[in-house]
């Protein structure tokens, strides 16, 4: 290895160290500020809680309120809605792509459905699906489906026209084109849409839990608000941040593995 090459590697490593150091500093600074501001009552400690109280509350939730159960409920709902969402998006995107006329017909309705704040449908969903996990999953699906369908459909539409022409020169059937070209060619888009989809699913699940639930992190947050225990609300939010971050990282990892 040449000296220049070593210097280059050193430069990259130094940059990485700087980035990580500052990331840690920002987090630590934020937590210390929050703790101090709360301790000296510059912000209202009852409303904004504090890191020490959050840790204490989490410990209490873990011991007395079955915190793990709540986390598992949310994760379970997210996973089901995520898998269902991806599968349905994929199937619907294929149908829309294969039958262009159908796509033209339902386009205004899709646009309407897309611009409608899905949470407005909440009460209706509860009446139809019942006050249970089903409602929460339907809610999450409403939110992740449209995004999923659109990103997969766009992937299909972006396939190189020359490749389609090549298949046509061989008199390929529509099924051949679908199985041998459309689906394999949009593999990358589908994998990349997973990341967006997991975030959307989590939003939907928490929204669903706000509306109707007996357990889950959304339930904890709403329950905390109702009994005016804002330490519980803050703790719920902190755990949610950690979970969404971890889920996102897992998906990114899977994406990397699959695209290698």
């Amino acid at each position: 290895m040449t000296k220049e090459h070593l210097n280059y590697l050193k430069k990259i490593r130094r940059e990485k160290i700087i980035v990580i150091t500052f990331q840690i500093l920002i987090l630590a600074g934020f937590l210390i500020m929050w703790e101090l501001l709360s301790k000296y009552k510059i912000i209202n400690p009852f409303i904004f809680s504090s890191p020490s109280k959050v840790i204490e509350t989490i410990k209490n939730l873990y011991l007395n309120y079955n915190l793990i159960g709540h986390i598992l409920t949310t994760l379970y709902e997210t996973l089901i809605a995520f898998i269902l969402g991806i599968t349905l998006s994929f199937i619907i995107a294929i149908i829309l792509y294969e039958f262009k006329i159908l796509n033209k017909i339902i386009d205004p309705y899709l646009t309407m459905l897309n611009s409608l704040p899905k949470v407005a449908l909440g009460p209706l969903i509860i009446i139809i699906a019942g006050a249970n996990t089903k409602s929460i999953i339907v809610m999450a699906l409403l939110i992740n489906l449209i995004v999923g369908i659109m990103s997969i459909y766009n992937g299909f539409n972006n396939i190189d026209k020359d490749l389609i022409k090549l298949f046509k020169t061989f008199n390929a059937s529509r099924l051949d084109i679908l199985l041998k070209l459309t689906i394999p060619a949009s593999y990358k888009t589908i994998i990349s849409s997973l990341k967006l989809n997991i975030s959307m699913t989590l939003i939907g699940v928490i929204m669903g839990e706000f509306l109707v639930s007996q357990s889950g992190l959304g339930y904890l947050i709403i329950y905390g608000t109702q009994v005016f225990n804002l330490d519980m609300v803050m703790s719920g939010i902190v755990i949610l941040i950690i979970i969404s971050f971890v889920l996102y990282k897992i998906i990114t990892y899977i994406e990397k593995k699959l695209l290698k």
Partner: protein, 252 residues
């Protein structure tokens, strides 16, 4: 000579919301066995439309296309269009796979072509590991895999840089001749058309009509690169250039 393909009074009209566009007007020509025929014309004149009609990818408005007996046409496109997720050999077998003719005999034939044209070492590689020229040769093998009698080539070298273009057109010419195929090529490169073909058909601007058909006579027929040195080369170049330049003058 044996007449393979005969096109008579071919017409093509496109319709848009506002009007009708006459793309092809009254085209008539024949292709004989073993010939290499090129079609040149101003860009956008409807050359590709003509090929699309011949290969049943577009419909004609009027006229007849007679194909001798049950001859097969093979279409080679401008872009090599390799599927990046398939190995080179599987790309070459794509046509056979779609036509459900992927049997041991045909696979052996394709492998034989790879070997004959020096690509055996790349069978198991990914397409993006190959140079543009190699990919173009694989694309030709993919077309040859279906054993067509007439090859239809749509600007097959236009995406290559000048150096590889000369080299690959030599290679492709050699492969087509060795496999004893008849070829019809569309190009906008006059030099390429004159150096590679037995006949050059010059088309006019839209609506495209046949302006002239030149039988290329050389002192000695060689590879396309050698043919560029032929003493008649400049003569034909000049003739065809004038045929095409006429339209620019009229337009301006």
């Amino acid at each position: 000579m044996n007449k393979l393909l005969s096109i008579k009074n071919l017409n093509k009209v496109y319709y848009s919301k506002k009007d009708e566009i006459e793309a092809i007007k009254d085209i008539t020509f024949d292709i004989y066995e073993g010939e290499f025929v090129s079609i040149v014309g101003p860009s956008g004149c409807g050359k590709s439309t003509l090929l699309n009609i011949l290969t049943n990818m577009d419909t004609k408005t009027k006229g007849t296309i007679e194909l001798n007996k049950n001859l097969k046409l093979g279409y080679m496109l401008q872009s090599d269009s390799m599927l990046p997720w398939r190995k080179v050999i599987d790309n070459a077998l794509l046509g056979l796979e779609i036509k459900k003719e992927k049997n041991t005999e045909n696979i052996q034939y394709v492998r034989g072509l790879f070997k004959k044209y020096g690509l055996s070492n790349f069978l198991e590689k990914c397409p993006n590991e190959l140079s543009g020229g190699m990919r173009q040769r694989v694309a030709l093998i993919r077309t040859l895999a279906l054993k067509p009698d007439i090859l239809i080539l749509d600007e097959p070298f236009s995406k290559l840089d000048y150096q590889s273009r000369l080299k690959v057109s030599d290679d492709v010419y050699k492969i087509i001749k060795e496999e004893g195929k008849t070829a019809l090529m569309v190009t906008h490169d006059l030099a390429e058309a004159i150096s590679i073909s037995d006949r050059v058909i010059v088309l006019s601007d839209r609506p495209c009509e046949i302006k002239n058909i030149y039988k290329i006579r050389r002192e000695k027929n060689g590879s396309p690169i050698e043919n560029r040195k032929d003493k008649n080369f400049a003569y034909y170049y000049d003739l065809i250039w004038k045929d095409l330049a006429y339209h620019d003058e009229r337009a301006s």
